[in-house]
């Protein structure tokens, strides 16, 4: 039994490596900046959704306020860079740690909440943070922060001549998020989280300290999400509360996992690859003036998937996996 399991794990790793290599080579054949942009966003959302998946998929604590951590990461990096000249690399770590800390602090009161109360609390907390940032003059209030792009280097993580470095960083981020999930899948954490998700009372009776496991998931998830936010700040060079802490972001982080397979290793990646190009393309070709067709398309997709195939699409591509974390 151990052998088939080890084989499965190896297969996952090799597939991931192969996909990463292919992805790394794609920019060599694609020079259209618009397409490159979509690819960067797809990878970023893959990373974000993978991080979201850790708390909401594996551990079952559905958060629709993850934009909070994304925004915190973005703002930490942007503020440290523009106000204090701290390099974004440190900003990223700082943003990650701050977010993880806040996630755990919020966990104390929030993890006592059941189901819908919890989801609404996450929405409310993110909205509150957004409103506070909109009124925080030092952080630019509603106008946000403009990150002047003066260099073109890895040191300051700004590139003017090409989007490719951003692409490779996003790829690395997605890879890291995937690897973290992969590693955690075969650890006590994944078992505790899924037990807590499926039946917290039974989990307690088996020695699982439910609260601690939720905290662990929250911290890891928040950290990675914040790093994604830091990346985004450097990528677009301008952030404001609405664009990095808005509810639509929270939703967009969750949807790839829901479509691809919530609580699975490959779900978020698959979902991102399907959803993000789809939304970008429908938005430009049909819904240019905000006519909502992209909303109709992916809204319908969400409804269909959650009703007809709640375990996500990932099972269709790999008949061996039943869509559970195996």
């Amino acid at each position: 039994m151990d052998k088939t399991f080890a084989r499965r794990r190896r297969r996952d790793l090799i597939t991931a490596l192969g996909l990463a290599v292919i992805a790394a080579l794609v920019p060599l054949f694609v020079s259209d900046v618009y397409v490159q942009n979509i690819m960067v966003l797809t990878l970023m959302y893959a990373a974000l959704s993978q991080s979201w998946n850790i708390l909401s998929g594996y551990c079952g604590q559905i958060s629709l306020g993850h934009a909070l951590y994304f925004g915190l990461g973005a703002y930490t990096t942007a503020l440290l860079f523009t106000k204090f000249g701290v390099l974004p690399w440190f900003g990223m770590i700082a943003g990650g740690l701050i977010s993880a800390g806040i996630a755990m602090a919020l966990g104390y009161p929030c993890f006592r909440l059941r189901g819908h109360y919890f989801v609404i609390a996450t929405i409310v907390i993110a909205e509150t943070a957004l409103l506070l940032f909109q009124n925080w003059d030092w952080a630019g209030a509603a106008l946000g922060i403009d990150i002047p792009v003066r260099h073109d280097s890895w040191l300051t993580f700004q590139f003017t001549r090409s989007k490719l470095p951003y692409f490779y960083f996003a790829l690395a981020l997605a890879a890291v998020a995937w690897l973290v999930t992969f590693w955690l899948e075969d650890s006590k954490w994944s078992y505790w989280w899924r037990a807590v998700r499926d039946n917290p009372e039974a989990a307690e009776s088996l020695g699982v300290v439910v609260f601690n496991s939720k905290m662990g998931a929250a911290a890891v998830s928040a950290f990675l999400t914040a790093v994604g936010g830091s990346f985004y700040a450097q990528f677009v060079s301008y952030i404001d509360p609405e664009s990095v802490m808005g509810f639509q972001f929270s939703l967009l982080m969750a949807l790839p996992a829901v479509v691809g397979g919530i609580g699975t290793l490959w779900g978020p990646v698959l979902g991102a690859v399907i959803l993000i190009p789809l939304t970008e393309l429908t938005r430009s070709y049909i819904g240019g003036s905000g006519r909502g067709v992209d909303l109709i398309v992916y809204g319908t997709l969400i409804v269909l998937i959650s009703l007809a195939r709640p375990q996500g699409l990932v099972g269709l591509f790999a008949p061996g996996r039943k869509g559970t974390a195996r």
Partner: protein, 292 residues
């Protein structure tokens, strides 16, 4: 800031709160009935407002007259949503919570997209209504008549709902199904019919609210989103599953919102509500009057 200003604000807050309660009670009803949160509730409000607008624009119907029609239309719509979508969502064996959340969320997104597509993102408003623009003075406090009418509609609706649930056969069937859906089947009550009508009723109530609100709010595709969050907070505050809780929660939310607007800059007025919600659920994880 004078006492008069404060009373004025609180009075407006109370009126608004009664409306929030009306929006929220449909949510509370549905949840109490079948343990499902309708994350498309804001969009139900939105289409009610649009329906009122179009009845006004094309048939010159005053919103007050349109209200019963809109409520009836929403009744049908709510039942359809149950039969086509929610019925399947509750059958999910695994990941049940997630399925319920995202299936109704997906619906919300679709509805918003459809609204944008068919009605464009332009802001609409009901420019002339019977009560529009009129104010009445009660004990020195000026109350806008549309909002006052809205509050009265809300109170009437709650009274009607109370009577309906406690005194009619269907209302009792609703309560019975809420208590034990399985047992109800044994007595010959079709669970699906009850649930569909429950959804219809919940939608009709928010339809009433939408018709009233069309008198004094702008109407646009995303209008539901802002009120939806207030509705969820109201229901969660009052306790999911409690009709009285929605009523009380609504009033509380309205008053808190008004008070916050007195102290903080207007853009932060929702922070007060959010803070109160968090405070209440942290202390009483089931809300103020909740049974779930």
């Amino acid at each position: 800031m004078t006492a008069a200003t404060i009373f004025q604000s609180l009075a407006s807050g109370l009126l608004m709160g009664l409306l929030y309660g009306l929006i929220a009670v449909g949510l509370a009803l549905i949840f109490g009935l079948m343990d499902v949160v309708n994350f498309a509730h804001g969009e139900f409000l939105m289409i009610a407002m649009y329906a009122t607008f179009f009845l006004f624009a094309y048939l010159a119907l005053d919103p007050l007259l349109a209200a019963p029609l809109v409520a009836a239309a929403l009744l049908v719509f709510g039942a359809i949503v149950y039969l086509l979508i929610v019925r399947f969502a509750v059958r999910a064996k695994a990941n049940a919570g997630m399925v319920q959340i995202f299936s109704t969320f997906g619906l919300a997104i679709v509805m918003r997209g459809l609204a944008q597509f068919f009605f464009t993102p332009d802001y609409r408003s009901v420019t002339h209504s019977w009560l529009g623009g009129k104010t009445v003075s009660i004990a020195g406090i000026f109350l806008p008549v549309p909002q006052l009418a809205g509050a009265l509609v809300s109170i009437a609706a709650f009274a009607g709902l109370y009577f309906f649930i406690n005194r009619t056969d269907f209302g009792r069937a609703l309560e019975a199904t809420r208590e034990d859906a399985g047992a109800v089947a044994l007595v010959g009550i079709d669970k699906n019919k009850v649930f569909a009508l429950g959804w219809g009723l919940g939608a009709a109530l928010v339809g009433l609210a939408g018709a009233v609100m069309a008198m004094f709010f702008y109407i646009y595709p995303d209008v539901g989103a802002s009120f939806a969050l207030i509705a969820y907070v109201t229901v969660a505050l009052g306790g999911f599953g409690s009709v009285f809780g929605a009523f009380a929660g609504g009033i509380l939310v309205g008053l808190v919102e008004a008070s916050t607007a007195l102290i903080l800059p207007p853009s932060l007025k929702s922070v007060g509500i959010y803070a109160v919600y968090l405070l209440v659920v942290f202390i009483r994880p089931r809300g103020l009057f909740g049974s779930i």
